[in-house]
Symmetry: C2
Subunit: 150 residues, 2 copies
C-alpha cells in the first residue's frame, strides 16, 4: 500500500522509471550477447531497413558513432550494409536472417520483462499509464525505437 508520504513528483517518477527500464533493457540485451545499443539497433531495424543518416536521427547519435555501432553489429553477423539502389553514396542497413531471429527473441523477452514491472498495477491502471505516457511520447516526437507490434 502506498502511503501519502511515498508520493513522489512527476519528474522523479520519470527519471527513476527511466533508470529502471534502462537496467532491465540492458540486462536483457546482455543475456542475448548484445549491448543495449546493439539491441536497440536491432529493434529499430525489425520493421524496416534504414539509411545511416536516418538511424543517426532515430537513435540520436552522431553519424560516426553509428558507423562504429553498425560495424560491430555487422561483424557479429546481425546486420548487413546493402547498397541503396537510388543513390550510390547511400547504404541501407538491414537485419541478416540471424539478426532478425535474434531481434525477435530479444524483443519478445524484453517485452516480457518490461511487462512485469507494472505487475502490481491493475489492468485499468496499466492502460491509464500507457495512455498518458503515450501522449507524452507523441507530443515530444519520440522516435519509434521500440514498437509494440513489430
Amino acid at each position: 500500500m502506498a502511503k501519502p508520504e511515498d508520493q513522489i513528483g512527476v519528474v522523479a517518477a520519470l527519471v527513476r522509471t527511466a533508470f529502471l527500464v534502462n537496467a532491465v533493457y540492458s540486462e536483457s540485451a546482455r543475456e542475448f550477447g548484445l549491448t543495449q545499443q546493439q539491441g536497440q539497433l536491432l529493434c529499430v531495424l525489425m520493421p524496416q531497413a534504414y539509411a545511416m543518416g536516418e538511424l543517426s536521427t532515430i537513435l540520436g547519435l552522431a553519424k560516426s558513432s553509428l558507423t562504429g555501432l553498425v560495424d560491430r553489429t555487422e561483424r557479429n553477423g546481425l546486420v548487413r550494409r546493402d547498397p541503396d539502389p537510388r543513390d550510390p553514396r547511400g547504404i541501407r542497413v538491414t537485419l541478416t536472417p540471424a539478426g532478425a531471429d535474434l531481434a525477435d527473441r530479444f524483443y519478445t523477452e524484453t517485452c516480457r520483462r518490461v511487462a512485469e514491472l507494472p505487475a502490481t498495477l491493475s489492468d485499468q491502471e496499466r492502460d491509464t499509464v500507457a495512455g498518458l505516457l503515450g501522449r507524452v511520447i507523441h507530443d515530444n516526437r519520440v522516435p519509434v525505437v521500440f514498437s509494440e507490434t513489430p
Copy 2:
C-alpha cells in the same frame, strides 16, 4: 488530440519514455560539461556521501567501473575520496564544494527540462502518472538515483 489508433501498450510506453528521458538527461549533463554517468553520480551524492560498494549497488555497476567513474569525476574536481573513520579499508565519496554547486545547477536544470516533457498533460494527469509510476518504482525497489527533494 490522441486518436484511438495512437494508443500504445504499456511496454512500448515505458521503453520509449525511458528513451526520451534518457536523451533529455544526457543532453542536460552535456551542457554542464558532464557525462550522463557523472551527472547521475553527482545527483546520488547530493543528499549524502556513500562508500564505493554502496554506489556500486545503487548505480548497478561493477565495483571497478565505479573506481573509474569516481577517478574521472575526482580528476574534474567534483568529488573527493574521504577515508572512512570506522574502517581504514573503506572510503566515503563526497561532493566537493565545486561538485555540490554544479550538482545543484545540473539538478535544477534537468528537473526543469524533464518537467516540460508532460507539458500537455493536465495537473491532475501529471499527478496520476506520478502516482502510478511511483508505485512501479516502489514495487521494483528502484534506488534513489534522483530525488525530488534533494
